[in-house]
């Protein structure tokens, strides 16, 4: 729809017309604010812990395990220097004593949700699927935070 609007504006004599083709779906998925009635609905971004345990691939797993457990968590998000999510060290990887490196221990490509997902739906989904947490990322894969299930 927006390409037609952009062309119409040009036909009406506007010279500098730009088309944000990805639209408000992209804007919301990036965790950027929106206004309007729906803005009052709590989202994944609103309830996410913005400072969850994170680590990078080259860190010693033993140190990461100790740090995560000391912080009261049983999961750690593996990210790169751009905060793009690479994997997840889940409960078994964190509580195990197996001598592995992070790349071997992590689950690669964990499923993620966008920041604008309604919080209520997300929490229901975690309960229904017996999931401990949901990783919240922007549409380009950058970590926003982690939502933990109520029982965690």
């Amino acid at each position: 729809m927006s390409p037609r609007a952009a062309w119409r504006l040009e036909a009406l004599g506007f010279f500098d017309v730009n088309d944000y083709v990805a639209g408000k779906a992209d804007w919301g998925a990036a965790g950027l604010p929106l206004e309007g009635k729906a803005a009052a609905i709590q989202t994944a971004a609103d309830i996410a812990d913005r400072d969850p345990p994170v680590c990078q691939l080259d860190e010693p797993l033993e140190l990461v395990r100790a740090r995560v457990l000391a912080a009261g968590w049983t999961a750690c998000v593996v990210i790169n220097e751009e905060r793009v999510v690479l994997g997840l060290l889940g409960r078994s990887a964190i509580t195990s004593t197996d001598e592995l490196d992070i790349e071997s221990a992590m689950a690669e490509g964990p499923s993620t949700v966008r920041p604008n997902v309604p919080a209520e739906k997300l929490l229901e989904r975690l309960t229904r699927r017996h999931l401990a947490q949901a990783i919240v990322t922007t549409s380009d894969g950058r970590l926003v935070g982690v939502v933990r299930a109520a029982s965690e």
């Binding site: 009406l12 730009n18 088309d19």
Partner: protein, 67 residues
């Protein structure tokens, strides 16, 4: 020719005074819209409504996604 732009470019243009126009119907705009956007539904995008816009500043149009 209209210029397709991404999110980063939208933010840059807004910071430089661009006008943001949601072209979806009123009810969808009321539900949620980008901060500072005005609503001119595509069906109403004709001479009179277009005169709300300043021709000397960049205009950004958007809808929901790649529709």
């Amino acid at each position: 020719m209209p210029t397709p732009i991404d999110r980063d470019h939208v933010q840059q243009l807004i910071a430089n005074g661009a006008q943001l126009v949601e072209v979806l119907p009123h009810d969808e705009y009321e539900e949620e819209h980008l901060p500072g956007a005005i609503n001119i539904p595509l069906k109403e995008l004709k001479g009179e409504r277009a005169r709300q816009l300043d021709r000397d500043r960049p205009v950004i149009v958007y809808c929901h996604d790649y529709q």
